[in-house]
């Protein structure tokens, strides 16, 4: 499926590297703010002309230290203008910035520094300098460490260290005698030079350095700019790690291409305040940020007066009814429109103001599944929140949700210049200029990720719906089939279940079976609250989990998921017929979860094989004895006679209302 949106060519003539864009903006809009940073309580602005001057000084300074074309420059720190300048300076010299996570411990940094053979690093402050010095013995190639913040650095006399300020002084001196030095270096750059190296998180094996060219990120940035009609007037708050592909695209690449303003918060703790002060027009956050914001609002509303609470809940209902339709320009009856207008005046407007979201034109979320209620809440109060889908290897996005065509369960349409096709096994394949050039020094991994036709294999299973929207279902290797040929996607089912606040974890089974089954962990806090309100006594998790009322509560959730599945012709056969609530919480100490709290399905399937067999055999109860590891390392045994419940399933094609 080739997309035809790509009207403009991928690159503009003369603007095929990031340094050329920088100089372009410095000439075209010298006084326009390129970056702001809150310091000493005031937003300090740097215009494009100032940024260009500073970048040239850093570049010349680096060259003085012996930085050559193709050298790697490690960049470590919070989002700071000077670190963004260092990226640009490095690119001016034809070097490759290697972005590193600032919260990594020293030992984790060693691998990246060794792998990328880094000789120069620009770091934010004393904390990062200490880490670099700590591992100096293992990184013998390192020659110079340049630090931005002088605080606490007075007594460091390591010969490797140099402040960014003195580096710039060195550079300016060089530029006095050789004013066109940096321009000459920029002229040597080419569109297919590597512009940045971003390390993948490495959940499987060692992290890999993804090499992206100028062309890749510029195309990607231009694609998204066209897609959402962004201009130089946007404001974005850069607060997500600089080493993450999302920040590199949204803050660095798009801002440098479109010429809009990057705003750096004062510190990690002040982000919410800074967000309010800046009022960005373009915003990105992972789902948990949106979730935290909503929770904070709800908690504060609980403490508000009765009148305010009633107004709030009334207008939220109004917004739920018609907010999303108004946002997407669909017809809405005049009475509802009037109500919504009133709501904007009294509730939504002030609320958006408090959240710092009243100027937002476009907001994106990605990185994890976002709950439909959460997503709809923001859209209903008039915030144009959308989802995207992509990887580090594709410059952050492959698909974006177009304005006015938001579907909860799809990630939208392929962006401009992106070609997406579905392989025979259901895997999503991507092609286009935004693909990675290679993994650094890993031809084996590169060959594994790119197939013979030049498609990047995402490892995700998905399909296009009738409107051409991509639906991502699961990791391709996890997807199976039920006996009747329906697609069985365990993660997809589990996510659907976990969106219910009463369900904390779910594990589903069904590959090669006639139907699907599920283990459920209830959320002790949420279900506990619910039980208290209902006056149901309980002594602890195990007791609560075995209550009939709780089984009833969970059955409703499972049936709702089944109704959803029935509506999807591809998955209607994979409805959950039997489920049980586990007598213990899944725990990383018992090996059931990874340390990042992902379920280890195969391990669980082995450990609880008796229960799974019983579910598929349709038994009503099953006895099980399992080992548990206590936090002090002792091992004990728990046994339980678990009840297995049956949930209603629905005929294929039945809509939700009919159910």
């Amino acid at each position: 499926m080739v997309d035809s949106q790509a009207a403009a060519p991928a690159l503009e003539p003369g603007l095929d590297t990031f340094p050329r864009y920088l100089m372009h903006h410095a000439k075209l809009r010298p006084q326009h703010p390129a970056m702001r940073e809150k310091e000493y309580g005031i937003w300090q602005s740097y215009s494009w002309a100032e940024v260009a001057e500073n970048v040239c000084a850093i570049a010349a300074g680096l060259a003085e230290l012996g930085f050559r074309r193709g050298d790697r420059l490690a960049i470590v720190g919070d989002n700071r203008p000077r670190l963004y300048w260092s990226i640009m300076a490095c690119q001016c010299l034809g070097g490759i910035p290697v972005m590193m996570y600032q919260d990594a411990v020293a030992q984790e940094m060693t691998y990246v520094l060794q792998d990328a053979e880094v000789r120069f690093a620009v770091v934010e402050d004393q904390e990062q300098v200490d880490k670099m010095l700590e591992i100096a013995g293992e990184t013998p190639l390192m020659e110079r460490i340049i630090y931005e913040d002088q605080r606490g650095m007075r007594h460091y006399n390591d010969a490797q260290l140099l402040s960014l300020e003195s580096l710039q002084t060195k550079g300016r001196l060089r530029l006095q005698s050789q004013p066109d030095f940096v321009d000459g270096e920029i002229a040597k750059g080419a569109f297919d030079d590597i512009s940045v190296m971003l390390y993948t998180s490495g959940t499987t094996g060692k992290p890999k350095g993804v090499c992206q060219t100028h062309e890749a990120f510029i195309t990607s940035a231009r694609g998204a700019i066209q897609f959402d009609r962004l201009s130089e007037r946007e404001d974005i708050l850069s607060y997500l790690p600089m080493a993450w592909v999302g920040d590199h695209l949204f803050s660095f690449a798009q801002a440098t291409v479109a010429g809009f303003t990057i705003n750096c918060p004062e510190s990690g703790e002040t982000v919410m305040n800074d967000l309010r002060e800046i009022g960005p027009t373009y915003y990105f956050a992972p789902p948990r940020v949106f979730e935290n914001l909503l929770t904070q609002v709800m908690i504060r509303m609980e403490d508000a007066g009765a009148l305010k609470r009633r107004l709030f809940s009334h207008f939220l209902e109004v917004a739920k009814g018609c907010g999303a339709d108004i946002l997407e320009g669909r017809p809405v009856p005049a009475m509802q429109r009037l109500q919504y207008w009133l709501g904007s005046l009294l509730i939504y407007g002030p609320l958006k103001n408090v959240l710092g979201m009243n100027r937002i034109r476009v907001a994106y979320t990605a990185g994890a599944a976002i709950g439909p209620e959460l997503f709809l809440f923001y859209r209903s109060i008039g915030i144009n929140l959308k989802q995207l889908y992509g990887q580090t290897e594709t410059c952050a996005y492959v698909c974006l949700q177009p304005d006015g065509q938001i579907k909860l369960d799809s990630v939208g349409k392929p962006g401009p210049y992106v070609e997406v096709k579905i392989a025979d096994n259901g895997e999503v394949l991507v092609k286009g200029p935004m693909l990675l050039k290679s993994y650094y020094k890993r031809p084996d991994a590169t060959a594994e990720a790119l197939n013979a036709d030049g498609y990047f294999m995402t490892g995700d299973a998905g399909y296009f719906d009738e409107d051409g929207h991509l639906k991502i279902i699961d990791r391709a290797k996890d997807v199976g089939k039920t006996a009747d040929g329906s697609m069985f996607a365990p993660n997809f089912l589990e996510n659907k279940l976990k969106f219910f606040q009463h369900i904390k974890e779910a594990v589903t089974f069904g590959n090669g079976r006639e139907f699907a089954t599920a283990f459920i962990n209830i959320d002790l806090e949420a279900v506990g609250n619910w039980a208290e309100k209902k006056g149901i006594p309980y002594s602890g998790y195990t007791d609560l989990a075995s209550r009939d009322e709780v089984y009833g509560l969970i059955r409703e959730c499972v049936e709702e998921v089944n109704a959803d599945l029935a509506a999807d012709p591809k998955m209607s056969g994979a409805q959950i017929r039997h489920f049980l609530i586990l007598h213990k919480e899944l725990d990383a100490d018992d090996g059931e979860l990874t340390r990042t709290r992902k379920v280890r399905r195969n391990f669980i399937a082995d450990k609880y094989a008796v229960l799974i067999d019983a579910m598929f055999a349709g038994k009503a109860r099953q006895f099980i004895e399992t080992q548990v590891a206590y936090e002090d390392g002792r091992v004990g045994k728990v046994s339980a006679d678990l009840r297995i419940d049956e949930a209603r399933t629905f005929p294929a094609g039945a809509s939700r209302q009919a159910a």
Partner: protein, 275 residues
């Protein structure tokens, strides 16, 4: 920074990278009593410029009385106080402030209802020159002056890493942060000598580590001489250049942390028996 780091740092600085100046404060044979109660008996010690000097001792040893003598709150019945070479006459505490001595309090003395920013701003009062009417109307020189002071206060906020609480009323902050604000207000005075009364009291380990780092940073960045009273021996030994030990109003030890740690009298005062 963890504790081992700070101790290494202190050790490194003791090894002579930092320059100590002349004696800035000299206390000679100080005795102080309240009625029949002798709080301090014949105590002599001095403080050199740029050093971190600690006064330790068990409860009721006379530490706070000693600090109050330095601060000019109490005037000793016997003995002499030389500050910057001049003998000090009886005086009011505000005169100590004018001479460049600032302090923090064991039981915080902040304005709970005022914001962090305003609390630290009060520390600048002494430096404000325009009169109260101009200040109230915020016109002319008063506004320029306020801007300059605000900038100074912002630097302190940045230094103490409390940007996130700038506008928060102090009463809503956790105790450890209130202590930091208290320190900020003392710093706003741009003192030459900073008296800290149990800066670590009631803090958890992490807050203590933070406070240690700030004390070392203040001393290092601004060259401020610091006299501190502290209960927590570990902390004191890690960050001090020299330590005075008091017990029942008498001096029982004085010197570098290592010497004091091995001093028999100090051990028995703290542990109650000789080993």
């Amino acid at each position: 920074m963890d504790m081992t780091d700070s101790s290494q740092l202190a050790a490194a600085e003791n090894s002579g990278r930092r320059r100590f100046g002349d004696i800035i404060l000299d206390l000679q044979n100080i005795s102080l009593s309240f009625g029949g109660v002798k709080a301090l008996t014949d105590i002599s010690f001095n403080v050199r410029e740029h050093e971190i000097r600690s006064i330790i001792g068990p409860n009721g040893a006379g530490k706070s009385s000693m600090l109050n003598v330095i601060n000019g709150v109490y005037y000793p019945q016997e003995g002499k106080v030389f500050y910057r070479g001049a003998e000090r006459a009886r005086m009011e505490p505000y005169m100590a402030a004018r001479q460049g001595i600032a302090r923090t309090f064991q039981n915080l003395a902040l304005f709970k209802g005022m914001s962090v920013l305003d609390n630290i701003m009060t520390g600048r009062n002494l430096q404000m020159r325009s009169n109260i009417f101009l200040q109230a109307l915020r016109i002319g020189p008063a506004q320029r002056e306020e801007l300059a002071h605000r900038e100074q206060v912002e630097r302190i906020i940045d230094f103490l890493e409390i940007q996130a609480y700038r506008k928060t009323p102090v009463g809503q902050l956790p105790y450890g942060l209130q202590k930091r604000v208290d320190l900020g207000r003392a710093l706003a005075l741009e003192p030459q000598m900073l008296l800290l009364d149990e800066p670590m009291a009631g803090m958890n380990v992490e807050e203590k580590q933070d406070m240690c780092r700030f004390i070392l940073d203040v001393n290092d960045e601004f060259g401020t001489t610091i006299v501190l009273i502290e209960h927590d021996m570990g902390v004191v030994m890690d960050i001090s250049d020299r330590v005075v030990v008091l017990d029942y109003g008498k001096k029982i030890g004085d010197g570098a942390p290592e010497e004091v740690r091995n001093n028999e009298d100090v051990i028995s005062a703290y542990l109650g028996t000789k080993h």
